[in-house]
Protein backbone atom coordinates (compact mmCIF):
# COMPACT_ATOMS: atom_id res chain seq x y z
CA UNK A 1 0.00 0.00 0.00
CA UNK A 2 2.81 2.41 0.86
CA UNK A 3 4.34 1.77 -2.56
CA UNK A 4 1.23 3.15 -4.19
CA UNK A 5 1.23 6.18 -1.96
CA UNK A 6 4.50 7.39 -3.37
CA UNK A 7 3.65 6.52 -6.95
CA UNK A 8 3.81 9.19 -9.64
CA UNK A 9 0.17 10.25 -9.16
CA UNK A 10 0.57 10.88 -5.46
CA UNK A 11 3.82 12.79 -5.76
CA UNK A 12 2.03 15.88 -6.99
CA UNK A 13 -0.02 16.04 -3.76
CA UNK A 14 1.02 18.20 -0.87
CA UNK A 15 0.04 15.89 1.96
CA UNK A 16 1.81 12.59 2.17
CA UNK A 17 -0.50 10.26 4.02
CA UNK A 18 1.51 7.16 4.79
CA UNK A 19 -1.71 5.34 5.57
CA UNK A 20 -2.64 3.15 8.48
CA UNK A 21 0.17 1.05 9.86
CA UNK A 22 -0.39 -2.19 11.72
CA UNK A 23 1.41 -2.97 14.93
CA UNK A 24 3.38 -6.22 14.87
CA UNK A 25 5.53 -5.63 17.94
CA UNK A 26 5.31 -7.37 21.29
CA UNK A 27 2.19 -7.28 23.45
CA UNK A 28 2.98 -7.51 27.12
CA UNK A 29 1.14 -9.70 29.58
CA UNK A 30 -1.07 -8.82 32.51
CA UNK A 31 1.75 -8.39 35.01
CA UNK A 32 3.63 -5.89 32.83
CA UNK A 33 0.42 -3.94 32.26
CA UNK A 34 -0.19 -4.00 36.01
CA UNK A 35 3.31 -2.62 36.60
CA UNK A 36 2.73 0.14 34.06
CA UNK A 37 -0.48 1.11 35.85
CA UNK A 38 1.28 1.18 39.24
CA UNK A 39 4.04 3.41 37.85
CA UNK A 40 1.68 5.84 36.15
CA UNK A 41 -0.58 6.00 39.22
CA UNK A 42 2.43 6.65 41.44
CA UNK A 43 3.52 9.47 39.14
CA UNK A 44 0.00 10.87 39.25
CA UNK A 45 0.03 10.73 43.06
CA UNK A 46 2.78 13.37 42.92
CA UNK A 47 1.18 15.31 40.09
CA UNK A 48 3.69 14.13 37.46
CA UNK A 49 2.14 13.91 34.02
CA UNK A 50 -0.79 16.00 35.18
CA UNK A 51 -1.54 19.70 35.10
CA UNK A 52 0.69 22.13 37.01
CA UNK A 53 -2.07 22.77 39.50
CA UNK A 54 -2.22 19.15 40.61
CA UNK A 55 1.51 19.13 41.44
CA UNK A 56 1.12 21.88 44.07
CA UNK A 57 -0.51 19.92 46.89
CA UNK A 58 1.60 16.71 46.90
CA UNK A 59 4.91 18.55 46.43
CA UNK A 60 4.00 21.08 49.12
CA UNK A 61 3.12 18.33 51.59
CA UNK A 62 6.31 16.42 50.75
CA UNK A 63 8.24 19.63 51.47
CA UNK A 64 6.45 20.02 54.79
CA UNK A 65 7.53 16.49 55.68
CA UNK A 66 11.15 16.92 54.57
CA UNK A 67 12.09 20.47 55.56
CA UNK A 68 11.78 20.00 59.37
CA UNK A 69 14.03 16.93 59.32
CA UNK A 70 16.56 18.80 57.24
CA UNK A 71 16.59 21.51 59.91
CA UNK A 72 16.84 18.94 62.73
CA UNK A 73 19.75 17.24 60.99
CA UNK A 74 21.47 20.60 60.50
CA UNK A 75 21.08 21.53 64.16
CA UNK A 76 22.14 18.17 65.60
CA UNK A 77 25.31 18.07 63.51
CA UNK A 78 26.19 21.72 64.24
CA UNK A 79 25.54 21.63 67.99
CA UNK A 80 26.86 18.10 68.56
CA UNK A 81 23.96 16.72 70.66
CA UNK A 82 24.54 13.66 72.83
CA UNK A 83 21.54 11.91 71.38
CA UNK A 84 19.10 12.77 68.58
CA UNK A 85 16.25 15.06 69.66
CA UNK A 86 13.64 12.91 67.92
CA UNK A 87 13.17 9.25 67.00
CA UNK A 88 11.73 8.31 63.59
CA UNK A 89 8.59 6.84 65.16
CA UNK A 90 8.00 10.08 67.08
CA UNK A 91 8.50 12.02 63.87
CA UNK A 92 5.75 10.07 62.11
CA UNK A 93 3.44 10.68 65.03
CA UNK A 94 4.21 14.45 65.07
CA UNK A 95 3.49 14.90 61.39
CA UNK A 96 0.45 12.63 61.14
CA UNK A 97 -1.77 15.55 60.19
CA UNK A 98 0.38 16.14 57.11
CA UNK A 99 0.19 12.45 56.23
CA UNK A 100 -3.59 12.54 56.66
CA UNK A 101 -3.82 15.59 54.41
CA UNK A 102 -1.73 13.89 51.75
CA UNK A 103 -3.95 10.83 51.85
CA UNK A 104 -7.07 12.99 51.67
CA UNK A 105 -5.75 14.92 48.66
CA UNK A 106 -4.27 12.07 46.63
CA UNK A 107 -6.37 8.95 47.33
CA UNK A 108 -9.43 10.51 45.67
CA UNK A 109 -7.18 11.54 42.81
CA UNK A 110 -6.23 7.91 42.21
CA UNK A 111 -9.62 6.33 42.81
CA UNK A 112 -12.54 8.77 42.44
CA UNK A 113 -11.42 10.40 39.20
CA UNK A 114 -11.61 7.30 37.03
CA UNK A 115 -15.08 6.69 38.44
CA UNK A 116 -16.24 10.27 38.09
CA UNK A 117 -15.06 10.72 34.51
CA UNK A 118 -15.96 7.10 33.79
CA UNK A 119 -12.56 6.35 32.28
CA UNK A 120 -12.75 3.19 34.42
CA UNK A 121 -14.76 1.70 31.53
CA UNK A 122 -11.74 2.03 29.25
CA UNK A 123 -9.59 0.12 31.73
CA UNK A 124 -12.19 -2.60 32.17
CA UNK A 125 -12.40 -3.02 28.38
CA UNK A 126 -8.69 -3.88 28.39
CA UNK A 127 -6.87 -7.05 29.48
CA UNK A 128 -6.45 -6.07 33.16
CA UNK A 129 -9.05 -7.58 35.47
CA UNK A 130 -10.85 -5.33 37.87
CA UNK A 131 -8.99 -6.89 40.80
CA UNK A 132 -5.68 -6.11 39.08
CA UNK A 133 -6.83 -2.55 38.60
CA UNK A 134 -7.85 -2.16 42.26
CA UNK A 135 -4.63 -3.72 43.55
CA UNK A 136 -2.50 -1.58 41.21
CA UNK A 137 -4.12 1.59 42.51
CA UNK A 138 -3.72 0.47 46.14
CA UNK A 139 -0.09 -0.50 45.57
CA UNK A 140 0.63 2.87 43.97
CA UNK A 141 -0.92 4.61 46.96
CA UNK A 142 1.18 2.52 49.38
CA UNK A 143 4.34 3.47 47.47
CA UNK A 144 3.32 7.14 47.38
CA UNK A 145 2.81 7.16 51.16
CA UNK A 146 6.08 5.29 51.66
CA UNK A 147 7.90 8.04 49.76
CA UNK A 148 6.14 10.71 51.80
CA UNK A 149 6.89 9.10 55.16
CA UNK A 150 10.11 7.26 54.31
CA UNK A 151 12.04 10.10 52.68
CA UNK A 152 12.27 12.22 55.87
CA UNK A 153 13.21 9.08 57.84
CA UNK A 154 16.09 8.40 55.45
CA UNK A 155 17.29 11.98 55.84
CA UNK A 156 16.97 11.71 59.62
CA UNK A 157 19.00 8.47 59.57
CA UNK A 158 21.69 9.92 57.31
CA UNK A 159 21.87 12.99 59.57
CA UNK A 160 22.17 10.82 62.68
CA UNK A 161 25.08 8.93 61.12
CA UNK A 162 26.74 12.20 60.10
CA UNK A 163 26.38 13.44 63.68
CA UNK A 164 28.19 10.23 64.74
CA UNK A 165 25.47 8.87 67.03
CA UNK A 166 25.73 5.21 67.91
CA UNK A 167 25.37 3.27 64.65
CA UNK A 168 23.53 0.25 66.09
CA UNK A 169 21.01 2.33 68.02
CA UNK A 170 20.35 4.59 65.06
CA UNK A 171 19.94 1.68 62.65
CA UNK A 172 17.52 0.03 65.04
CA UNK A 173 15.46 3.21 65.34
CA UNK A 174 15.55 3.73 61.59
CA UNK A 175 14.33 0.19 61.08
CA UNK A 176 11.48 0.77 63.56
CA UNK A 177 10.59 3.92 61.68
CA UNK A 178 10.57 2.17 58.31
CA UNK A 179 8.45 -0.70 59.63
CA UNK A 180 6.01 1.79 61.14
CA UNK A 181 5.97 3.72 57.87
CA UNK A 182 5.24 0.59 55.85
CA UNK A 183 2.50 -0.61 58.21
CA UNK A 184 0.97 2.86 58.23
CA UNK A 185 1.17 3.24 54.44
CA UNK A 186 -0.60 -0.06 53.84
CA UNK A 187 -3.36 0.65 56.34
CA UNK A 188 -3.91 4.25 55.24
CA UNK A 189 -3.90 3.28 51.55
CA UNK A 190 -6.53 0.63 52.22
CA UNK A 191 -8.76 2.99 54.21
CA UNK A 192 -8.27 5.93 51.83
CA UNK A 193 -8.78 3.66 48.84
CA UNK A 194 -12.05 2.29 50.17
CA UNK A 195 -13.46 5.73 50.97
CA UNK A 196 -12.39 7.17 47.60
CA UNK A 197 -13.59 4.22 45.57
CA UNK A 198 -16.97 4.41 47.27
CA UNK A 199 -17.79 7.82 45.81
CA UNK A 200 -17.20 9.42 42.43
CA UNK A 201 -17.35 12.85 44.12
CA UNK A 202 -13.84 13.93 44.95
CA UNK A 203 -14.71 16.59 47.50
CA UNK A 204 -16.81 14.16 49.46
CA UNK A 205 -13.97 11.64 49.58
CA UNK A 206 -11.50 14.32 50.77
CA UNK A 207 -13.81 15.37 53.58
CA UNK A 208 -14.60 11.78 54.57
CA UNK A 209 -10.94 10.77 54.78
CA UNK A 210 -10.00 13.77 56.90
CA UNK A 211 -13.03 13.20 59.13
CA UNK A 212 -12.27 9.50 59.65
CA UNK A 213 -8.59 10.06 60.46
CA UNK A 214 -9.01 13.11 62.66
CA UNK A 215 -12.13 11.96 64.47
CA UNK A 216 -10.63 8.55 65.21
CA UNK A 217 -7.36 10.01 66.45
CA UNK A 218 -9.07 12.60 68.64
CA UNK A 219 -11.33 9.90 70.04
CA UNK A 220 -8.32 7.73 70.92
CA UNK A 221 -6.44 10.60 72.56
CA UNK A 222 -9.49 11.64 74.58
CA UNK A 223 -10.36 8.11 75.66
CA UNK A 224 -6.78 7.41 76.66
CA UNK A 225 -6.67 10.61 78.69
CA UNK A 226 -9.91 9.73 80.49
CA UNK A 227 -8.92 6.11 81.19
CA UNK A 228 -5.42 7.02 82.16
CA UNK A 229 -5.47 10.41 83.91
CA UNK A 230 -1.93 10.13 85.29
CA UNK A 231 0.84 9.96 82.75
CA UNK A 232 2.89 6.82 82.78
CA UNK A 233 2.36 3.24 81.75
CA UNK A 234 -1.26 3.08 80.54
CA UNK A 235 -3.72 0.51 81.93
CA UNK A 236 -5.15 -2.35 79.86
CA UNK A 237 -8.31 -0.53 78.68
CA UNK A 238 -6.30 2.57 77.79
CA UNK A 239 -3.98 0.35 75.79
CA UNK A 240 -6.81 -1.20 73.81
CA UNK A 241 -8.20 2.28 73.12
CA UNK A 242 -5.25 2.65 70.76
CA UNK A 243 -7.01 0.27 68.38
CA UNK A 244 -9.35 3.11 67.47
CA UNK A 245 -7.10 5.10 65.14
CA UNK A 246 -4.82 3.95 62.31
CA UNK A 247 -1.91 5.99 63.62
CA UNK A 248 -1.98 4.65 67.18
CA UNK A 249 -2.81 1.13 66.00
CA UNK A 250 0.28 1.08 63.79
CA UNK A 251 2.48 2.62 66.50
CA UNK A 252 1.58 -0.14 68.96
CA UNK A 253 1.84 -2.88 66.36
CA UNK A 254 5.27 -1.64 65.33
CA UNK A 255 6.57 -1.69 68.90
CA UNK A 256 5.12 -5.20 69.26
CA UNK A 257 6.83 -6.47 66.11
CA UNK A 258 10.24 -4.92 66.83
CA UNK A 259 10.03 -4.99 70.63
CA UNK A 260 10.57 -1.30 71.16
CA UNK A 261 10.32 2.12 69.58
CA UNK A 262 6.90 3.01 70.96
CA UNK A 263 5.80 4.72 74.16
CA UNK A 264 5.05 1.41 75.90
CA UNK A 265 5.53 -2.28 75.19
CA UNK A 266 2.40 -4.35 74.56
CA UNK A 267 2.18 -7.86 76.01
CA UNK A 268 2.09 -10.77 73.57
CA UNK A 269 -1.68 -11.19 73.74
CA UNK A 270 -2.22 -7.45 73.34
CA UNK A 271 0.19 -7.42 70.43
CA UNK A 272 -1.64 -10.29 68.76
CA UNK A 273 -4.95 -8.46 69.14
CA UNK A 274 -3.43 -5.38 67.51
CA UNK A 275 -1.97 -7.50 64.70
CA UNK A 276 -5.32 -9.25 64.21
CA UNK A 277 -7.25 -5.99 64.03
CA UNK A 278 -4.69 -4.59 61.61
CA UNK A 279 -4.89 -7.53 59.23
CA UNK A 280 -8.67 -7.59 59.45
CA UNK A 281 -8.97 -3.87 58.71
CA UNK A 282 -6.68 -4.06 55.69
CA UNK A 283 -8.44 -7.18 54.39
CA UNK A 284 -11.91 -5.67 54.78
CA UNK A 285 -10.88 -2.44 53.03
CA UNK A 286 -9.20 -4.25 50.11
CA UNK A 287 -12.18 -6.55 49.78
CA UNK A 288 -14.46 -3.49 49.84
CA UNK A 289 -12.52 -1.75 47.08
CA UNK A 290 -12.64 -4.88 44.97
CA UNK A 291 -16.36 -5.38 45.58
CA UNK A 292 -16.97 -1.78 44.61
CA UNK A 293 -15.25 -2.30 41.23
CA UNK A 294 -17.20 -5.49 40.68
CA UNK A 295 -20.33 -3.38 40.91
CA UNK A 296 -18.86 -0.76 38.58
CA UNK A 297 -17.98 -3.43 36.01
CA UNK A 298 -21.53 -4.76 35.97
CA UNK A 299 -23.18 -1.35 35.73
Amino acid sequence: MSDQQFGPQQRAGVIHDIGYRNYDGPRLGRFSIWQALVVSSLRHAYGLGRSGKSKVMPILLLAVMVVPVAIIVGIETALKFDKPPLTPVQYISFLQAVIALYLASQAPQLFSCDLRYRSIVLYLARPLRRTDYALAKLTALVFALMILIGLPLVILYAGALLAKFDFTDMSKEFLSGIVAALLLSILLAAIGGLISAATPRRGFAVAAIIAVLIVSFTAVVTTTAILNPEAGDPGTSARYANLGSPFTLVEVLQSFILRGGGAWKPTTSQGLVFAGVYVLLVAVCVWGVNARYAKVARG
Partner: protein, 299 residues
Protein backbone atom coordinates in the same frame (compact mmCIF):
# COMPACT_ATOMS: atom_id res chain seq x y z
CA UNK B 1 -14.32 -17.63 10.18
CA UNK B 2 -16.71 -14.97 11.44
CA UNK B 3 -15.27 -12.26 13.68
CA UNK B 4 -18.16 -12.56 16.09
CA UNK B 5 -20.51 -15.52 16.41
CA UNK B 6 -23.20 -15.85 19.05
CA UNK B 7 -25.42 -18.86 19.63
CA UNK B 8 -28.72 -18.56 21.51
CA UNK B 9 -27.17 -15.78 23.56
CA UNK B 10 -29.46 -14.62 26.36
CA UNK B 11 -29.10 -12.16 29.18
CA UNK B 12 -31.88 -11.97 31.72
CA UNK B 13 -32.07 -9.62 34.65
CA UNK B 14 -34.58 -10.21 37.44
CA UNK B 15 -37.13 -7.99 35.75
CA UNK B 16 -36.10 -7.59 32.13
CA UNK B 17 -34.76 -9.78 29.39
CA UNK B 18 -32.03 -7.74 27.72
CA UNK B 19 -31.11 -10.34 25.11
CA UNK B 20 -33.30 -13.20 24.04
CA UNK B 21 -31.86 -16.23 22.21
CA UNK B 22 -29.68 -14.12 19.93
CA UNK B 23 -27.90 -16.07 17.20
CA UNK B 24 -25.96 -13.87 14.85
CA UNK B 25 -22.67 -13.75 12.96
CA UNK B 26 -20.56 -10.72 12.15
CA UNK B 27 -17.85 -10.79 9.49
CA UNK B 28 -15.26 -8.35 8.21
CA UNK B 29 -16.08 -4.87 7.00
CA UNK B 30 -18.46 -2.53 8.79
CA UNK B 31 -21.48 -4.03 10.52
CA UNK B 32 -24.23 -1.86 11.88
CA UNK B 33 -26.07 -2.91 15.03
CA UNK B 34 -29.35 -1.08 15.04
CA UNK B 35 -32.13 -0.93 17.55
CA UNK B 36 -34.14 1.46 19.66
CA UNK B 37 -32.91 2.45 23.11
CA UNK B 38 -33.16 -0.61 25.34
CA UNK B 39 -33.07 -3.05 22.42
CA UNK B 40 -30.01 -4.75 23.96
CA UNK B 41 -27.20 -3.18 21.94
CA UNK B 42 -25.02 -2.10 24.87
CA UNK B 43 -25.69 -5.34 26.73
CA UNK B 44 -24.49 -7.27 23.69
CA UNK B 45 -21.29 -5.21 23.50
CA UNK B 46 -20.60 -5.78 27.20
CA UNK B 47 -21.05 -9.51 26.81
CA UNK B 48 -18.78 -9.51 23.75
CA UNK B 49 -16.09 -7.78 25.85
CA UNK B 50 -16.47 -10.39 28.57
CA UNK B 51 -17.53 -7.75 31.11
CA UNK B 52 -20.81 -9.41 31.96
CA UNK B 53 -21.60 -13.08 31.70
CA UNK B 54 -24.52 -14.24 29.55
CA UNK B 55 -27.36 -16.08 31.31
CA UNK B 56 -27.42 -18.69 28.57
CA UNK B 57 -25.88 -19.34 25.20
CA UNK B 58 -22.36 -18.59 24.01
CA UNK B 59 -20.41 -15.98 22.12
CA UNK B 60 -17.12 -16.42 20.25
CA UNK B 61 -15.11 -13.30 19.45
CA UNK B 62 -11.99 -13.63 17.26
CA UNK B 63 -11.88 -17.32 18.09
CA UNK B 64 -12.08 -16.87 21.88
CA UNK B 65 -15.04 -17.72 24.07
CA UNK B 66 -16.03 -14.54 25.89
CA UNK B 67 -16.71 -16.29 29.19
CA UNK B 68 -13.45 -18.24 29.46
CA UNK B 69 -11.22 -16.06 27.30
CA UNK B 70 -12.37 -12.55 28.17
CA UNK B 71 -8.84 -11.37 28.76
CA UNK B 72 -7.65 -12.57 25.33
CA UNK B 73 -10.68 -10.97 23.69
CA UNK B 74 -10.08 -7.64 25.41
CA UNK B 75 -6.44 -7.60 24.29
CA UNK B 76 -7.57 -7.84 20.65
CA UNK B 77 -10.66 -5.63 20.69
CA UNK B 78 -10.96 -1.85 20.75
CA UNK B 79 -14.02 -0.43 22.52
CA UNK B 80 -15.46 3.05 22.26
CA UNK B 81 -18.14 3.60 24.92
CA UNK B 82 -21.22 5.66 24.30
CA UNK B 83 -20.79 8.09 27.18
CA UNK B 84 -18.08 10.57 28.04
CA UNK B 85 -15.02 8.85 29.53
CA UNK B 86 -12.14 11.33 29.31
CA UNK B 87 -10.42 12.89 32.33
CA UNK B 88 -10.26 16.67 31.80
CA UNK B 89 -6.78 17.40 33.19
CA UNK B 90 -4.84 15.06 30.89
CA UNK B 91 -3.85 15.73 27.28
CA UNK B 92 -5.07 13.48 24.47
CA UNK B 93 -1.53 12.33 23.74
CA UNK B 94 -0.80 11.27 27.31
CA UNK B 95 -4.16 9.59 27.62
CA UNK B 96 -3.75 7.62 24.40
CA UNK B 97 -0.18 6.61 25.32
CA UNK B 98 -1.34 5.45 28.74
CA UNK B 99 -4.22 3.41 27.36
CA UNK B 100 -1.95 1.86 24.72
CA UNK B 101 0.25 0.67 27.59
CA UNK B 102 -2.84 -0.61 29.36
CA UNK B 103 -3.40 -2.78 26.29
CA UNK B 104 0.06 -4.24 26.63
CA UNK B 105 2.16 -2.09 24.30
CA UNK B 106 5.68 -1.23 25.52
CA UNK B 107 6.20 2.47 26.32
CA UNK B 108 8.02 3.48 23.12
CA UNK B 109 5.60 1.63 20.86
CA UNK B 110 2.70 3.16 22.79
CA UNK B 111 4.02 6.67 22.12
CA UNK B 112 4.47 5.97 18.41
CA UNK B 113 1.04 4.40 18.00
CA UNK B 114 -0.69 7.19 19.94
CA UNK B 115 0.79 9.86 17.67
CA UNK B 116 -0.11 7.83 14.59
CA UNK B 117 -3.68 7.16 15.61
CA UNK B 118 -4.41 10.70 16.79
CA UNK B 119 -3.28 11.91 13.37
CA UNK B 120 -5.58 9.43 11.66
CA UNK B 121 -8.62 10.63 13.60
CA UNK B 122 -7.70 14.19 12.69
CA UNK B 123 -6.57 15.52 16.04
CA UNK B 124 -3.29 17.20 15.24
CA UNK B 125 -2.77 20.54 16.91
CA UNK B 126 -4.98 20.08 19.97
CA UNK B 127 -3.52 16.84 21.18
CA UNK B 128 -1.12 18.38 23.72
CA UNK B 129 -3.85 20.41 25.42
CA UNK B 130 -5.86 19.09 28.41
CA UNK B 131 -9.01 17.36 27.17
CA UNK B 132 -11.27 19.40 29.45
CA UNK B 133 -11.30 22.15 26.81
CA UNK B 134 -12.23 19.93 23.88
CA UNK B 135 -15.42 20.18 21.83
CA UNK B 136 -17.74 17.18 21.63
CA UNK B 137 -16.36 16.37 18.17
CA UNK B 138 -12.79 16.34 19.43
CA UNK B 139 -13.73 14.20 22.43
CA UNK B 140 -15.37 11.65 20.15
CA UNK B 141 -12.18 11.55 18.09
CA UNK B 142 -10.06 10.86 21.18
CA UNK B 143 -12.48 8.13 22.23
CA UNK B 144 -12.15 6.59 18.80
CA UNK B 145 -8.36 6.96 18.89
CA UNK B 146 -8.07 5.11 22.21
CA UNK B 147 -10.08 2.24 20.70
CA UNK B 148 -7.60 2.00 17.80
CA UNK B 149 -4.36 2.73 19.61
CA UNK B 150 -3.35 -0.89 20.19
CA UNK B 151 -4.11 -1.94 16.58
CA UNK B 152 -7.11 -4.10 17.50
CA UNK B 153 -8.42 -6.91 15.33
CA UNK B 154 -11.99 -5.69 15.88
CA UNK B 155 -13.49 -2.43 17.10
CA UNK B 156 -16.81 -2.04 18.88
CA UNK B 157 -18.18 1.48 18.57
CA UNK B 158 -21.14 2.35 20.79
CA UNK B 159 -23.07 5.23 19.22
CA UNK B 160 -19.99 7.13 17.98
CA UNK B 161 -22.10 9.87 16.40
CA UNK B 162 -23.89 10.74 19.63
CA UNK B 163 -24.07 14.46 20.25
CA UNK B 164 -22.37 15.46 17.01
CA UNK B 165 -23.66 18.11 14.62
CA UNK B 166 -24.45 17.00 11.03
CA UNK B 167 -20.98 17.89 9.74
CA UNK B 168 -19.27 16.14 12.65
CA UNK B 169 -21.53 13.15 12.14
CA UNK B 170 -20.52 12.84 8.50
CA UNK B 171 -16.83 13.11 9.38
CA UNK B 172 -17.16 10.46 12.07
CA UNK B 173 -18.99 8.10 9.71
CA UNK B 174 -16.36 8.64 7.02
CA UNK B 175 -13.73 7.75 9.59
CA UNK B 176 -15.65 4.60 10.55
CA UNK B 177 -15.86 3.64 6.89
CA UNK B 178 -12.09 4.12 6.52
CA UNK B 179 -11.43 1.90 9.55
CA UNK B 180 -13.46 -0.88 7.96
CA UNK B 181 -11.97 -0.57 4.49
CA UNK B 182 -8.59 1.20 4.41
CA UNK B 183 -7.40 0.10 7.87
CA UNK B 184 -8.82 -3.36 7.34
CA UNK B 185 -10.25 -3.62 10.87
CA UNK B 186 -13.73 -5.17 11.23
CA UNK B 187 -16.12 -2.70 12.85
CA UNK B 188 -19.30 -3.25 14.82
CA UNK B 189 -21.06 0.09 15.15
CA UNK B 190 -24.29 0.67 17.06
CA UNK B 191 -26.85 3.34 16.41
CA UNK B 192 -30.50 3.92 16.99
CA UNK B 193 -30.68 5.75 13.68
CA UNK B 194 -30.94 3.41 10.75
CA UNK B 195 -30.47 6.17 8.25
CA UNK B 196 -27.00 7.12 9.32
CA UNK B 197 -25.70 3.57 9.02
CA UNK B 198 -27.06 3.25 5.50
CA UNK B 199 -23.98 4.81 3.97
CA UNK B 200 -21.21 3.19 6.00
CA UNK B 201 -22.22 -0.39 6.66
CA UNK B 202 -21.76 -3.53 4.59
CA UNK B 203 -24.02 -5.53 6.82
CA UNK B 204 -26.83 -4.60 9.17
CA UNK B 205 -28.03 -6.43 12.28
CA UNK B 206 -31.31 -5.19 13.68
CA UNK B 207 -32.29 -5.85 17.28
CA UNK B 208 -35.72 -5.28 18.69
CA UNK B 209 -36.47 -5.92 22.34
CA UNK B 210 -33.42 -8.17 22.72
CA UNK B 211 -34.41 -10.32 19.75
CA UNK B 212 -32.86 -10.49 16.31
CA UNK B 213 -35.18 -8.82 13.83
CA UNK B 214 -33.00 -8.98 10.72
CA UNK B 215 -29.39 -9.72 9.87
CA UNK B 216 -28.66 -9.05 6.24
CA UNK B 217 -26.19 -7.43 3.94
CA UNK B 218 -26.99 -3.85 3.23
CA UNK B 219 -27.43 -4.66 -0.45
CA UNK B 220 -30.32 -6.95 0.46
CA UNK B 221 -31.90 -4.39 2.72
CA UNK B 222 -31.53 -1.42 0.43
CA UNK B 223 -31.40 -3.24 -2.89
CA UNK B 224 -33.20 -2.31 -6.07
CA UNK B 225 -36.86 -3.10 -6.09
CA UNK B 226 -37.66 -3.33 -9.79
CA UNK B 227 -39.47 -0.04 -9.54
CA UNK B 228 -38.63 3.23 -11.27
CA UNK B 229 -39.05 6.48 -9.34
CA UNK B 230 -39.97 9.49 -11.44
CA UNK B 231 -40.31 13.06 -10.21
CA UNK B 232 -41.69 15.90 -12.29
CA UNK B 233 -42.07 19.62 -11.64
CA UNK B 234 -45.48 20.03 -10.02
CA UNK B 235 -48.15 17.87 -8.46
CA UNK B 236 -50.74 18.31 -11.20
CA UNK B 237 -48.02 17.19 -13.64
CA UNK B 238 -47.53 14.15 -11.42
CA UNK B 239 -51.17 13.19 -11.69
CA UNK B 240 -51.29 13.79 -15.45
CA UNK B 241 -48.17 11.69 -15.95
CA UNK B 242 -49.56 8.90 -13.79
CA UNK B 243 -52.75 8.88 -15.83
CA UNK B 244 -50.82 8.91 -19.11
CA UNK B 245 -48.66 6.00 -17.98
CA UNK B 246 -51.72 4.01 -16.94
CA UNK B 247 -53.26 4.62 -20.36
CA UNK B 248 -50.08 3.39 -22.01
CA UNK B 249 -50.39 0.14 -20.07
CA UNK B 250 -47.74 0.65 -17.36
CA UNK B 251 -48.43 0.06 -13.67
CA UNK B 252 -47.82 3.38 -11.98
CA UNK B 253 -48.83 4.89 -8.64
CA UNK B 254 -48.09 8.22 -7.00
CA UNK B 255 -45.97 8.13 -3.81
CA UNK B 256 -45.49 11.56 -2.30
CA UNK B 257 -43.97 13.76 -4.99
CA UNK B 258 -42.85 10.64 -6.87
CA UNK B 259 -44.48 8.30 -9.29
CA UNK B 260 -43.43 4.69 -8.87
CA UNK B 261 -43.46 2.76 -12.13
CA UNK B 262 -43.02 -0.97 -12.27
CA UNK B 263 -40.13 -1.88 -14.59
CA UNK B 264 -41.24 -4.57 -17.05
CA UNK B 265 -38.23 -4.22 -19.36
CA UNK B 266 -36.18 -1.76 -21.36
CA UNK B 267 -39.35 -0.32 -22.90
CA UNK B 268 -40.54 1.06 -19.53
CA UNK B 269 -37.73 3.67 -19.61
CA UNK B 270 -38.72 4.73 -23.16
CA UNK B 271 -42.35 4.85 -22.17
CA UNK B 272 -41.68 7.19 -19.24
CA UNK B 273 -39.42 9.40 -21.38
CA UNK B 274 -42.00 9.68 -24.13
CA UNK B 275 -44.89 10.33 -21.74
CA UNK B 276 -43.00 13.15 -20.02
CA UNK B 277 -42.02 14.66 -23.37
CA UNK B 278 -45.58 14.43 -24.75
CA UNK B 279 -47.02 16.19 -21.72
CA UNK B 280 -44.27 18.81 -21.81
CA UNK B 281 -43.46 18.33 -18.11
CA UNK B 282 -40.25 19.39 -16.39
CA UNK B 283 -38.45 16.18 -15.44
CA UNK B 284 -36.66 16.46 -12.07
CA UNK B 285 -35.28 12.95 -11.77
CA UNK B 286 -35.72 9.41 -12.89
CA UNK B 287 -33.97 6.65 -10.96
CA UNK B 288 -34.30 3.05 -9.78
CA UNK B 289 -36.23 3.01 -6.53
CA UNK B 290 -34.38 1.52 -3.55
CA UNK B 291 -35.60 0.23 -0.22
CA UNK B 292 -34.85 2.55 2.61
CA UNK B 293 -33.63 0.99 5.83
CA UNK B 294 -36.46 2.66 7.72
CA UNK B 295 -38.90 0.43 5.91
CA UNK B 296 -37.40 -2.58 7.69
CA UNK B 297 -39.08 -1.56 10.91
CA UNK B 298 -42.45 -1.01 9.26
CA UNK B 299 -42.71 -4.51 7.79
Amino acid sequence: MPVIATASLSKRYPRVTALDELTVEVGSGVTGLVGANGAGKSTLLKILLGLIAPTAGSAIVLGHDVVTGGEAVRALVGYMPEHDCLPPDVSATEFAVHLAQMSGLPATAARERAADVLRHVGLDEARYRPMGGYSTGMKQRVKLAQALVHDPKLVLLDEPTNGLDPAGRDEMLTLVRRIGTEFGIPVLITSHLLGELEHVCDHIVILDGGRLLRSESKAALTGETGVLAVEVRDLSGRDRLAAALERAGARARPDGPLILVEITGEETFDLVRDAVADLGLGLVRIEPHRHRLEEVFSV
